[in-house]
């Protein structure tokens, strides 16, 4: 609860704030809180990945895009779709919430073996059971790099 509240608030902030930079900052905040949530479930590996990949790499990309495109603040006009959208959103929330929340209230925090999700186990799985997909993914990344270089290259005369 301590973490979920701020996470939800931050998410609202992402959507509600008009400035793109402020949205992005809220998103970073949200990512960090999610990572803490993973830590509290003793899922260190996912938590670390969350911080490194999302809060680190992906947010930097977002910031670059925001900087490059330099979006202006948009003056939103009054839109008749807004109240209807809000209504539908609220209805959907009620519907889903009425199904999910009662179950969640009674649920306990899952008792996890400490080892599950630890970097050691993840690494071991990657290099034993899943070594073949792991190696093939490296080729997939290579394809991605070659493809994007080819597409981004200036057209040849």
């Amino acid at each position: 609860m301590m973490l979920a509240g701020p996470a939800a608030l931050a998410t609202v902030g992402v959507v509600a704030s008009k400035s793109a930079v402020r949205s992005a900052l809220c998103l970073v905040f949200n990512f960090f809180i999610l990572a803490f949530l993973y830590f509290s479930l003793s899922m260190e590996m996912i938590g670390i990945t969350q911080i490194m990949v999302y809060a680190g790499a992906i947010m930097v990309l977002f910031m670059f895009v925001i900087m490059l495109l330099n979006p202006k603040l948009i003056d939103e006009k009054k839109d008749y779709k807004l109240p209807i959208g809000l209504l539908f959103g609220l209805a959907l929330f009620m519907l889903l919430g009425s199904q999910i929340l009662p179950k969640l209230m009674t649920a306990n925090v899952p008792a996890m073996e400490y080892e599950v999700g630890s970097p050691k186990l993840v690494g071991e799985a990657l290099f034993t059971t899943y070594v073949f997909p792991f190696e093939v993914v490296s080729l997939l990344l290579l394809v991605g790099v070659v493809g994007s270089v080819f597409l981004a290259k200036r057209r040849t005369p």
Binding site: F127, Y130, F132, V136, L139, V143, G147, L151, R155
Partner: protein, 484 residues
């Protein structure tokens, strides 16, 4: 004493020799292009062809070698032919690519490594028994093809088709991955036979999850194979992308998804109640829509695109039958794919030869007067078209007969009747190609259509595939059965 923290997996690299050769060939191609950036296309072409031939040799020498590794890859009778088919179609496409690129002034040295890796992805899909590996193979295949669809940077159509293919393909990938996640959640296993094991464990609570997962994966596969409600990308992408890339997209790149689909369908008997009706509807829709839409096309590549939708429908009908009776007879699909791949490739070889400068869609008129300019080409076009229609002593005919007999065997006679009716209807538009080839040239055919060595050998491969697989049907079948 064990020097390692955990035991190293037992892995026989020699079993994966063809795949490794392909991967290394692609990387080698990159290095060649790096050393000699200007005018490297001939060297690249040669190395890639040598690499692919080596991989083909390794693959053929491994036919009948049954193995299973890490519970993820399994080579057995169901896929030993399919991999050879992929490699041969890759080789054929490579052979036509160099002259085609030169003629239409497309500069794309990355084509050779990328298409090699795409074939590698397709082969992975064939041999994998694990949904994770199937997914990675699918991505390897798709991402390479997304890029290759935009290989012609001067053509707006090519760029457009690449973008469309990428956006829709990524969307379909999302479905596929979501389905895998559901299946994993329901059965706790990513392996294809995990469903069977799960089914015997009798846990009906997870049945909805299994069903949702299966249907989502079905959507993903239907997209990649081009089955009817998910076929919209095919005509646009085919008509825009360079002809040699389309030749691979329509043939070699289809084999992998089909085989993986086949493995899934034959294993997932727990969701038969929903799977069979969906497959029936999808296949029927593909046949009808594909044939009807192809009928009114004037753009050759779009025509072939819809024809590939119809062919995917025939395979889908077979899948429905297999799923209905829990059968896993693999000979039919393998043989049908041989017929389909080589006949389609043959048509594309000829199309690539008469292709203009690719700045505009290629109409049927570009085939006009082909019989005057080159009677051999026109004659082989007739053979390929006959195989596509499914009449005469050609592979397409036998493939369809096998499917029909399987369907009747599975008590899906109405689907077999629909298939026959559709094939008959398909004859009309296929004959448009032949009629154009044998009519007099009018205006728009200044292309010389002088085939070079590569094209001739590509054509020869296709002809041998289409005719040879009928002539040597008996030995092929016996060999196949003895090895399995």
């Amino acid at each position: 004493m064990n020097r390692y923290l955990f035991p190293l997996p037992d892995f026989q690299f020699t079993n994966l020799l063809p795949l490794i050769i392909l991967a290394v060939t692609g990387m080698f191609g990159l290095v060649i292009h790096m050393i000699k950036p200007k005018g490297s296309s001939n060297a690249l072409f040669l190395t890639t062809v040598i690499g692919v031939v080596a991989a083909l040799m390794a693959q053929i020498s491994m036919v009948g070698n049954i193995f299973e590794q890490l519970e993820m890859i399994k080579q057995d009778a169901t896929n030993m032919v399919a991999e050879v088919v992929i490699l041969v179609s890759l080789l054929t496409v490579l052979l036509i690519s160099n002259p085609y690129f030169k003629r239409s002034r497309i500069h794309c040295p990355e084509f050779f490594p990328l298409i090699t890796w795409a074939a590698l992805g397709g082969m992975l899909m064939c041999i994998s028994t694990n949904l994770l590996v199937v997914f990675i193979g699918l991505e390897l295949l798709s991402i390479s093809l997304y890029v290759l669809a935009g290989a012609n940077k001067r053509s707006k159509f090519s760029q457009e088709s690449a973008l469309k293919y990428f956006l829709l393909g990524a969307f379909a990938t999302g479905f596929f991955l979501y389905g895998i996640a559901f299946l994993y959640g329901a059965s706790g296993s990513l392996s294809l036979d995990g469903f069977m094991r799960f089914a015997t464990h009798t846990n009906t609570a997870n049945q909805p999850l299994l069903t949702i997962g299966f249907v989502l994966i079905l959507v993903g596969f239907s997209f990649k194979c081009g089955l009817a409600p998910f076929h919209q990308w095919i005509p646009d992408v085919y008509s825009g992308a360079p002809t040699n890339v389309v030749a691979f997209m329509a043939t070699g790149a289809k084999v992998g998804p089909f085989l993986a689909f086949f493995h899934l369908v034959t294993e997932a008997s727990t969701v038969r109640d929903i799977g069979v009706p969906i497959l029936m509807v999808v296949s029927l829709l593909s046949m009808v829509l594909g044939n009807v839409m192809a009928f009114s096309q004037n753009d050759t590549k779009k025509l072939l695109a819809y024809s590939s939708v119809a062919n995917a429908g025939y395979v889908g009908a077979l899948f429905a039958g297999l799923m209905a009776v829990k059968s896993s007879t693999y000979w039919t699909i393998n043989y049908f794919l041989i017929g389909y791949v080589f006949a389609t490739l043959g048509v594309f070889v000829i199309l690539a030869l008469v292709a203009g400068d690719e700045d505009s869609p290629q109409t049927i008129d570009s085939l006009r007067g082909l019989s005057k300019r080159n009677p051999m080409l026109a004659a082989s076009l007739v053979i390929f078209v006959l195989s596509q229609i499914g009449i005469g002593p050609v592979a397409g005919f036998l493939g369809k007969v096998l499917i029909i007999s399987d369907l009747v065997h599975c008590q899906l006679t109405w689907l077999a009747v629909a298939l026959v009716a559709n094939s008959a209807f398909g004859a009309f538009y296929y004959f448009k190609l032949v009629r154009a080839a044998y009519s007099d040239a009018e205006g728009s055919s200044e292309i010389s259509a002088k085939p070079c060595l590569g094209t001739v050998s590509a054509l020869a491969i296709c002809l041998v595939g289409v005719v040879g697989s009928v002539v040597f049907y008996g030995p092929l079948y016996n060999f196949f059965v003895s090895k399995s």
